[in-house]
């Protein structure tokens, strides 16, 4: 089961993907923990979603690292969830911020979350990353991962 050059490359890029996921997990966790501790009453719906997204980013990071069929499925589910989350919450935050209890759609404001305005406050990384993640997963079956 010698990995080919192509799959080794995919694996290498996967390392970078994992690193970016880890940074995003830290960012989302830090921000949501602070917002919930400091100003939960201002936008409880948005901050709760923020915390949920943080947990999902942590799970996705672990799932990308851990080997095996089960973690591979968890990676699909969590990364898919993120893509849906950033699209749905991003759209709501722009066009109907009041639904989330937000005063403004400003992605840099004090109530902004990692998914606000499709993650514009995070250089759109939250929007691009799940797409890259799903592409990466498609090319990395659990069998191939065990060859590590």
């Amino acid at each position: 089961m010698m990995p080919t050059t192509t799959s080794r490359r995919t694996l290498g890029i996967g390392r970078v993907l994992i690193a970016v996921y880890a940074v995003l997990a830290i960012a989302a966790t830090g921000r949501s923990a602070f917002q919930i501790a400091d100003r939960f009453d201002e936008a409880p719906v948005a901050f709760t979603l923020s915390a949920v997204s943080a947990v999902v980013y942590i799970l996705a990071t672990v799932a990308l690292i851990a080997p095996g069929e089960v973690w591979y499925r968890i990676a699909w589910v969590t990364i898919g969830f993120e893509l849906v989350g950033v699209l749905v919450i991003g759209t709501i935050s722009l066009f109907a911020p009041a639904l989330l209890g937000l005063d403004s759609p400003n992605p840099f404001g004090r109530e902004a979350t990692v998914w606000s305005a499709y993650g514009a406050g995070y250089l759109l990384v939250p929007l691009v990353l799940p797409v890259l993640g799903l592409l990466y997963l498609r090319g990395r079956r659990p069998r191939a991962a065990e060859a590590l």
Binding site: G12, I13, R15, V16, A19, V20, A22, V23, I26, A27, G30, R31, A33, F34, A37, D38, N106, F108, G109, R110, L123
Partner: protein
């Protein structure tokens, strides 16, 4: 925070970050140059921590939320060693890219820390 020191940090983190990403993509494994650049970024962050502790006492208080500031600063201080350990354990070109990604993240975080300290938009 001290403004000029902020820009020094952002510049060093940006150069270290972009440089490591490029060198990594060119195929360089982590070496003294890229790990040294990451170490420099980390040392500046520790200096920043000392500055942040001293500054409010000498007439330079934060205009924003200090807790939020420290969430960023502590996260930043943790991220660089994580990338560094990764580079020491797995000596591949991609570890160099990871070092670079960490540097870029630090540049953004330091800028955000400065905003919290000195610029209130909302």
């Amino acid at each position: 925070m001290v403004e000029w020191f902020t820009w020094v940090q952002v510049a060093v983190a940006l150069i270290a970050g972009l440089g490591s990403v490029v060198l990594g993509l060119l195929g360089r494994t982590p070496d003294d140059l890229t790990l040294g650049a990451a170490l420099l970024v980390e040392v500046l962050l520790v200096v920043q921590l000392v500055v942040a502790i001293i500054a409010p006492g000498v007439g330079n208080p934060p205009t924003g939320n200090l807790l939020e500031f420290y969430v960023y600063l502590i996260s930043a201080i943790i991220i660089v060693p994580l990338a560094g350990f990764w580079a020491l354990i797995e000596r591949s070109r991609w570890s160099t890219v990871v070092l670079g990604v960490a540097g870029l993240a630090i540049a953004v975080m330091v800028y955000r820390m400065y905003q919290i300290w000195a610029v209130q938009v909302a």
